[in-house]
Subunit: 140 residues, 2 copies
DNA sequence: ATTGATGCAAATGATTTGCACCGTG
DNA sequence: CACGGTGCAAATCATTTGCATCAAT
């Protein structure tokens, strides 16, 4: 938990139990949770925590670059503590969201820069498909 | 307007003035409008049209594959009558959304398929940057 | 002691839904 | 004529905000 405390201080943020819990949770999961999901996971340990705090905290963490916000096309946002830009893949069967390796798209970025007169500063790459488990289910 | 009528019939949809207007508008714009924007553009010509109808119509058009839904990370969806999968680029200055040529990413798709055990069936690629006009504004 | 963070409840905003009426096929 | 489409208003759901209280620096 010390590294997380350090991260927050480094960004000039006050260190509170809620922030520690939220950032810690995000850094140790790969499920790309929504605010709601994070809240549900943490209320048991922090019974007074409110959903509003989760949203406010995520806003702050996003603005300081400690987490990134994903929008996979659902009604709500998901959050990811892996902040280097990397593509995601969404399972259309079970809805889970996984990471793809960043190396996959580094060439693409060059290509895009060559073909546009925009000054490109970011990107979001989402792929959709069926994970191995869901493929298996469909074949039965 | 006949081609649009034909498109709707071909999908087994009833042809109504509202549907014609919405699909026609989407097919002749490149601004990737939201439901709200579409509504505002059309109320003057169709004073009785309701926003709910726009949403319901977009739902139907999406399900029949006549339009695609974009989620650029704003609070709302945008719609695009160009239904072949292609990347989009969003201007962070003025918020406009433009198309990038599909050819840019065909290699990427192969790459992704090679590196994942998902059965890939779709993708959404968004780039973010500043359009030439906004770059100029920033330099002044 | 200050200043920013929390938590509740109320507000907002996009989208959806129920239902009576209307127009297309 | 039947059935799906429309339009209104009310409902829903994610997210945001106001504000009084509380805790970290």
């Amino acid at each position: 938990m010390e590294e997380i405390t350090a991260l927050l201080k480094q960004k000039g943020l006050k260190v509170t139990p809620q922030r520690l819990a939220i950032l810690n949770f995000l850094m140790h999961t790969n499920e790309h949770p929504t605010a709601e999901t994070i809240y549900k996971k943490l209320v048991s340990d922090f019974p007074t925590m409110s959903l509003a705090t989760v949203y406010k905290t995520l806003e702050v963490l996003k603005n300081t670059g400690l987490v990134q916000e994903l929008n996979v096309g659902e009604g709500s946002f998901r959050y990811d503590a892996k902040t280097t830009p990397h593509p995601h893949i969404v399972c259309l069967g079970c809805g889970k969201v996984e990471d793809l390796d960043e190396s996959i798209f580094k060439d693409l970025l060059e290509e895009v820069k060559k073909h546009t007169d925009y000054k490109v500063v970011g990107q979001k790459l989402y792929f959709y498909g069926y994970c191995p488990a869901c493929q298996k289910k469909m074949n039965n």
